[in-house]
């Protein structure tokens, strides 16, 4: 289906190759409007870059991609200089080599040389570049002042000392996510990337998405690691430590062991986690299926009872915080469903604890997530439903409160633990998830890709409403990397308009429509990160446009191979309702699986103040 437009695009590109120039003495052609960097790439000439990142950053700040253009007084930055007819470009001259080397040396002078113990070392662009340019030592001494780390956020730690001021993080936060939580302060060598009033990521409107960490060329922004806490829990014999794994992790974790993207490493991941010492290895896909039943019924209830529409998905915690900060007036549109992570945590410490006959206080729930915002989500004060459930039964005081999810590991942290434990991920034979919270369907798997929640919901809602069986399960119109996708689905004459957005910049557009009363949709899926969870801020540093696509392919292939592909067919979910929850949107669901939101605003005083939770009408019947 995608081949025709692609062919057209290629054809157009060919026609537009109208710029004739010389690169290193050879006649070359470049597309109209191409930069020198693109022209060189087309010509097979490599120009080193540092601050430049395709589709994210072309600030031209680092001064590494410089080339010589005949007749120009200064060297040109290949990343931002447009190719023009008759240009004579040289990428390998003494001046070019000296300039690149000097500029990298200047950066190294103010960069701590702790590569041996730096967590980013294996992925550090600065380290690679220094090696490529043959820099053995920096001739320059440190001149910059030391900066303190920003550890105010539960999700991310910023270390300005490692920052080379490339501004990729600022660009991705402002341009892609439209959040603008970080920016430059200070001048010259006192320049530093920081938050408003230097209040730290934890004190401002940061969505905790972690895209800044993904694009950072050095180790200046990293997830806040919970590895030590998780080891401690695993090593504690009194604790039953269970791990849940989000769908997007299985298609990415192998990349951290040098494996080629495009495969789901589900079995290896489950086996490796078991080898780490987790008592039970479960699957967040299970609660993804559960989410579909709760959310699908919530949507139908809203449609039937004249509730607030469009309804928006609530699985992505970065998006939730974004909405609370920037669109506090439209929080009624958010589904009251907790995210699959939090549904899992609440059930693990109630339903499963009862099943096991274990004190919920001795259960440690660890999430393995592609996401840094999940760390924040797990710490939201209202995410202690299991405590509320047990409070009376066990005669607990408020001070005894425990969270539903104890620790959240990103894909990267889990990979580090696997390496630390000496597990050969590539070689380990695959194993299954444990039962019953490891049983899931293809609908749960596709939660990991943009459009997946929508597609999973449509599979269920269609069959529930029409009573017919879908002949084709794939809803192609909501798949793919287009920023905003929309579709119309006919449910027995009821035309349901749906939209899917990924990346908060795209989300903002749909939110503005809603705010202005112009949204034509009934149901909207929003994912914080580009590509959905598979492009999450906790994924391996190999994340880019290409790996995102390959991970999506792996997710859809995994879905296709699953014996069950519709959430409402999940037998473990059916059992859960029969044994414990009774029915979707029922009383227990309300207590354990649904939540409320906090209007925050963006004014520093608003952000800091913990406002009382909004009183929301819940859709449950009780």
């Amino acid at each position: 289906m995608g081949s025709l437009p692609l062919r057209r695009l290629r054809l157009r590109r060919k026609q537009e190759m109208t710029v004739n120039l010389k690169i290193n003495g050879k006649d070359c052609r470049a597309a109209d409007g191409a930069t020198l960097l693109e022209a060189c790439k087309t010509a097979g000439v490599k120009v080193p870059t540092l601050c430049y990142l395709e589709n994210v950053n072309d600030e031209g700040s680092c001064g590494v991609c410089v080339v010589e253009v005949k007749g120009q007084r200064t060297l040109a930055r290949a990343c931002i200089t447009k190719a023009a007819n008759g240009m004579e470009v040289s990428t390998n001259t003494p001046a070019v080599r000296a300039a690149r080397k000097t500029n990298v040396e200047l950066l190294l002078a103010n960069h701590p040389a702790d590569c041996l113990v730096c967590q980013k070392s294996d992925y550090c662009s600065l380290r690679f570049l220094a090696a490529d340019l043959g820099i053995k030592e920096s001739r320059y001494e440190r001149t910059a002042k030391k900066h303190e780390q920003d550890a105010t956020s539960p999700s991310l730690v910023r270390d300005p000392d490692k920052c080379i001021l490339c501004r990729r993080c600022v660009a991705v936060c402002a341009e892609k996510q439209s959040v603008c939580a970080i920016g430059l302060a200070g001048r010259g060598e006192e320049s530093v990337v920081t938050t408003f009033g230097d209040m730290g990521l934890g004190g401002v409107e940061c969505a905790n998405c972690g895209q800044c960490a993904l694009v950072c060329p050095t180790g200046a922004i990293m997830e806040k690691s919970e590895v030590a806490d998780v080891w401690k829990a695993i090593d504690d014999p009194k604790k039953t430590v269970i791990v849940q794994t989000a769908p997007a992790v299985r298609v990415a974790i192998g990349e951290d062991f040098g494996l080629e993207p495009g495969t789901a490493w589900t079995g290896k991941m489950a086996a490796a986690l078991r080898a780490l010492g987790f008592d039970k290895v479960f699957d967040t896909d299970f609660t993804a299926d559960l989410t579909i039943l709760e959310e699908g019924n919530e949507l139908l209830s809203r449609v039937k009872n004249g509730g607030t529409l469009p309804m928006i998905t609530s699985c992505s915690p970065g998006w939730i915080k974004f909405a609370e900060h920037f669109f506090p007036g439209v929080l009624d549109h958010l589904s009251t469903c907790k995210s699959p992570q939090q549904m899992f945590g609440a059930l693990a410490k109630t339903y499963y604890a009862e099943k096991l006959g274990v004190d919920p206080r001795n259960i440690v729930v660890v999430s393995l997530m592609p996401c840094t915002a999940k760390k924040y989500e797990a710490r939201r004060p209202e995410m202690n439903s299991a405590f509320q459930y047990w409070k009376k039964k066990l005669n607990l005081k408020d001070g005894d409160s425990f969270q539903d999810v104890d620790y959240v590991l990103t894909t990267r942290e889990a990979a580090r633990m696997v390496k630390e434990a000496g597990i050969d991920f590539a070689a380990i034979p695959g194993e299954d998830f444990d039962k019953p919270l490891g049983i899931s369907t293809g609908a749960g798997v596709i939660f990991g890709a943009t459009g997946g929640v929508m597609e999973a919901a449509l599979r269920t809602v269609y069959e529930v409403v029409t009573g017919k069986t879908l002949t084709k399960l794939e809803f192609e119109s909501v798949r793919g990397m287009e920023g905003i996708k929309s579709a119309e689905v006919d449910l027995n004459g009821l035309k349901v308009k749906v939209a899917v957005a990924h990346g908060l910049g795209n989300a903002r557009k749909l939110l503005e429509q809603i705010r202005d009363g112009k949204s034509p949709y009934h149901f909207i899926e929003i994912m914080t990160c580009d590509g959905g969870c598979l492009g999450g801020g906790g994924q391996p540093f190999t994340t880019n446009a290409e790996t995102r696509k390959k991970r999506a392919q792996a997710i859809y292939a995994e879905d296709k191979d699953m014996p069950m592909r519709k959430s409402h067919e999940n037998p473990a979910v059916k059992e859960l309702y029969a044994e414990f929850l009774e029915k979707p949107l029922g009383h227990k669901s309300h207590e354990l699986l649904h939540t409320h939101y906090t209007p925050r605003g963006v004014h520093p005083d608003d952000v800091k103040a913990e406002k009382p939770a909004c009183k929301k009408e819940h859709v449950c019947a009780h």
Partner: protein, 533 residues
């Protein structure tokens, strides 16, 4: 005939007690019952850098400076008798008769050609009537009777080049913005005069603010702009208040507003204040600053003429450039082309400072040799000492040695010695000055003012300061000079904007031209106190 005493109310004079001197003069007049015969008014600067207030007595055309309250009785006594008070007298221009004779002061008068500064120190800058009486806004009326393209053609004929430092042809800039189609265009006046040693635009804004406003309206008409911004250095409080008053008066008289001079052309001016960043004198950083953003340069292209303020076509011109415009329109492009030198037409205002006997602001035709500025205008090096070097065009400009000062100040002649007129700053260093200290001083300035956007400028300026401090302290390593050379080269070649590209200009020129002094500094017992072991 009635005598008028004009008291210079420029910033320097105000700081030196001009208000007290003026009050004393008024009191003296009242005391003697001369209120009907002698009046006192405020005016702009006459360009004198002397350490006190400065007054001009008309029609006698005699300037007294420095004046304090204690001189009031003598001045009024002389004025009442129609005589000059020789004790304090200074001449100002060759066109004015000067009873006092001899002295360097007459050379100063003879060398000047005050066109742009013609009204400064003559009219009351806060009185629009005086500007109009002196022919003000006549150029505007003439321009509005022309087609916009004819106005640009006249500027083209004049060969006016930008006076901010780069010397870009003004007509080319205007034509480029004029051909853009947009719902709104802007004229932005760069009055963020921040180049160290440069204080010439202030003389225009304090002494003749309407001339700048008139130039801006004409520029707006020529390119089809309806809005003008004057971005003024925040420290220029007096310039800001004078321009605010001038814009208000111009609005009241119909020179600004919905119907300029009652016609169909609409133009108004807003004043924006800088907050002390040198980088905001770079046109695209200036635009960012007006937009309320961090002052950092934008990438070019697109140039401001295509996408400037709020992404609309914008012409950014220096104060002096715009103030030259009314004269060109009134007298014709050919008149302007006849002034100055080949490739550098018209007059240029210079700020003269350093180790000289006379310091101040003068307007002279392009083509005057640097040596004439130093010896005739500046009265020679202070204390009869020898000249060591001249910093020309500001600290981002060039460093001239004694053997180069015969060069005429114009773009072509200076280009031959890798120099340029820049902003028109002339800073003289005498033989007692250490080149290393001077270069370090400049380096510290750039380290402080680098915006931080690009690596070579942000880190390079800091490294240069560090190395220079080592050299000054006699702790330099063998390869420190090589490091400086390599930093200077890479900064010039790869800095994002002119700030970084020129920050090491003087350093690299000094390394070539004063190699001996650098070497001495690397050796034991150097002049600047270092002891290299």
């Amino acid at each position: 005939m009635k005598t008028t005493i004009l008291v210079s109310h420029d910033r320097r004079a105000m700081a030196a007690g001009a208000a007290a001197a003026e009050a004393a003069l008024r009191a003296e007049i009242s005391k003697r019952g001369l209120d009907k015969d002698i009046s006192v008014s405020a005016t702009g600067s006459l360009g004198y850098e002397a350490g006190g207030a400065c007054v001009l007595v008309m029609p006698l055309a005699v300037v007294y400076t420095p004046v304090t309250a204690a001189d009031a009785a003598d001045i009024i006594e002389a004025a009442s008798k129609g005589r000059a008070l020789e004790r304090l007298a200074k001449p100002v221009s060759k066109s004015w008769k000067m009873p006092a004779s001899g002295s360097h002061a007459e050379k100063l008068a003879a060398a000047q050609q005050r066109v742009i500064l013609g009204n400064a120190g003559v009219i009351d800058p806060e009185n629009i009537g005086e500007y109009v009486s002196a022919g003000g806004y006549g150029a505007l009326a003439k321009a509005l009777a022309m087609k916009p393209e004819e106005v640009i053609a006249e500027i083209k004929t004049s060969e006016l080049r930008g006076r901010g430092g780069a010397g870009f042809p003004t007509a080319t800039k205007w034509a480029s913005a004029a051909q853009e189609k947009a719902d709104i265009k802007y004229v932005v006046c760069n009055a963020d005069e921040g180049e160290p040693g440069t204080f010439k635009d202030r003389e225009i804004m304090e002494g003749d603010p309407h001339k700048l406003i008139e130039g801006m309206i004409i520029a707006g008409y020529a390119i089809g702009a309806s809005k003008g911004y004057i971005y003024i250095r925040g420290e220029y409080a007096l310039s800001i208040s004078r321009l605010e008053k001038a814009a208000e008066a111009a609005r009241a008289k119909g020179f600004l507003g919905e119907k300029v001079l009652g016609g169909n052309f609409a133009f108004d001016i807003e004043i924006a204040r800088g907050a002390g960043a040198y980088i905001c004198g770079e046109e695209s950083a200036l635009i960012e600053s007006i937009e309320g953003k961090r002052g950092e340069p934008r990438r070019k292209p697109p140039y401001p003429a295509q996408k400037g303020l709020w992404q609309k076509p914008t012409v950014v011109n220096n104060v002096e450039t715009l103030a030259a415009v009314p004269h060109i329109i009134l007298n014709g492009g050919l008149w302007h082309k006849a002034l100055g030198a080949e490739g550098a037409r018209g007059t240029k205002i210079f700020s003269i400072a350093g180790d000289l006997n006379w310091k101040g602001v003068v307007e002279i035709p392009f083509g005057t040799p640097v040596s004439a500025i130093i010896n005739e205008i500046g009265g020679g090096v202070k204390g009869g000492r020898k000249l060591k070097a001249v910093i020309l065009g500001g600290v981002s400009g060039s460093l001239l040695t004694d053997s180069e000062i015969a060069t005429p100040v114009d773009f072509n002649s200076l280009a031959k010695i890798e120099a340029g007129p820049g902003s028109g700053a002339v800073i003289v260093l005498d033989e007692t000055r250490s080149v290393v200290e001077a270069v370090l001083n400049i380096a510290r300035f750039f380290k402080h003012e680098s915006c931080g956007r690009c690596t070579p400028c942000r880190a390079g300026t800091a490294q240069i300061v560090r190395i220079l401090e080592k050299i000054r302290d006699g702790k330099a390593a063998e390869d420190d000079i090589t490091k400086l050379e390599s930093l200077a080269r890479v900064m010039a070649q790869t800095s994002f904007c002119p700030l970084g590209q020129t920050a090491a200009n003087i350093l690299s020129q000094s390394l070539k031209k004063f190699a001996g002094e650098w070497e001495a500094c690397l050796c034991a017992g150097c002049a600047c106190g270092g002891n290299k072991k």
